[in-house]
């Protein structure tokens, strides 16, 4: 009996000593911001296939199109290009994890970029109305040996419908949204209150003049 309790006791001691592992858990005061990417000029390169591949899903590939795409928040993926004439998706999907890693690392058919994409923008305080982030990517150079993709713009979407965007000045610094909303939002935010305030003043002034 004593012998059978020993492993349980040891396990409890270990659990009480080892710090809590947070892994996938978000702080109760924080929320995850949904993050998407989009290559805005992908259609300008019809002779190429663009693939998404990387950590930790080395066993799988994603074939990109011009639509928005997102992936697991803890992933770090890269975009690769392959000439259509050199690409066979069925063949690629039959490769195992090691073969795929080798294909993306060493194959002369694969054109690599330096850009790494993170699956998540990160977390923000639950009181922050930020709900979605879209990062627009642009292919700035593509030839048989080299692929260059740059982050062009980030679009912040807020609860309640507010949208703001900011251009990347430096690839390593995520631009923060400016303080002023764009476009027709301004009419909503300031035009309507001004009209309402004017109407309220008219009501009060007319009442006073009677």
């Amino acid at each position: 009996m004593k012998g059978s309790l020993l492993p349980v006791c040891l396990m409890l001691i270990c659990l009480s000593v080892v710090p809590t592992v947070y892994a996938d858990v978000i702080d109760p005061d924080e929320k995850e911001v949904q993050t998407s990417y989009q290559i805005i000029n992908l259609d300008s390169y019809p002779d190429y296939v663009f693939l998404l591949y990387g950590y930790p899903f080395y066993h799988d590939i994603v074939v990109l199109n011009s639509s928005q795409f997102s992936f697991y928040k803890f992933s770090t993926l890269s975009v690769y290009a392959v000439e259509k004439s050199n690409f066979n998706e069925d063949e690629l999907r039959q490769l195992n994890e090691t073969q795929l890693q080798d294909y993306f690392a060493n194959s002369t058919k694969v054109i690599r970029s330096d850009l790494e994409l993170e699956g998540s923008y990160g977390t923000v305080n639950v009181a922050n109305p930020l709900s979605e982030v879209l990062i627009e990517l642009e292919i700035t150079s593509l030839n048989h040996t080299h692929l260059e993709i740059k982050k062009k713009r980030i679009i912040y979407t807020y609860e309640g419908g507010g949208v703001k965007s900011a251009d990347y000045q430096d690839q390593n610094t995520t631009p923060q949204p400016g303080p002023v909303p764009s476009g027709t939002d301004m009419i909503w935010y300031f035009g309507l209150p001004l009209i309402a305030l004017a109407a309220i003043l008219i009501v009060l002034l007319r009442r006073r003049s009677k």
Partner: protein, 102 residues
């Protein structure tokens, strides 16, 4: 944009349902509705802007809205400020509660 309009219409409806019983003997129903529309067209877009772009703190924004709406209710419905504050507080608390439920 449509979400904002939907929020405005819903807020007007909720505040009308809450405020009307307080003031039905004092004011015509059409005037009550008109004043509530005007008050909310003034406060809701500014509150949304404040929350989205300046200070994402719902409690503080709601507090400011209650104060501003109570002043407007006092002026438009010609009632005592304490009474206006009570009406404004109740209307906005119900609106926030409904917002959370939705």
């Amino acid at each position: 944009m449509y979400e904002l309009l939907y929020a405005l219409l819903l807020t007007i409806l909720i505040e009308f349902i809450v405020i009307w019983p307080f003031l039905r003997k004092k004011e015509k129903i059409t005037l009550i509705l008109l004043y509530i529309v005007l008050i909310n067209c003034f406060t809701l877009p500014l509150a949304t802007y404040g929350y989205n772009y300046i200070l994402p703190n719902l409690v503080l924004i709601e507090f400011l809205i209650i104060i501003i709406e109570s002043l407007l209710i006092k002026l438009l419905f010609k009632i005592k400020y304490q009474w206006a504050l009570l009406i404004s507080t109740e209307a906005n608390l119900v609106t926030v509660a409904v917002g959370f439920v939705i």
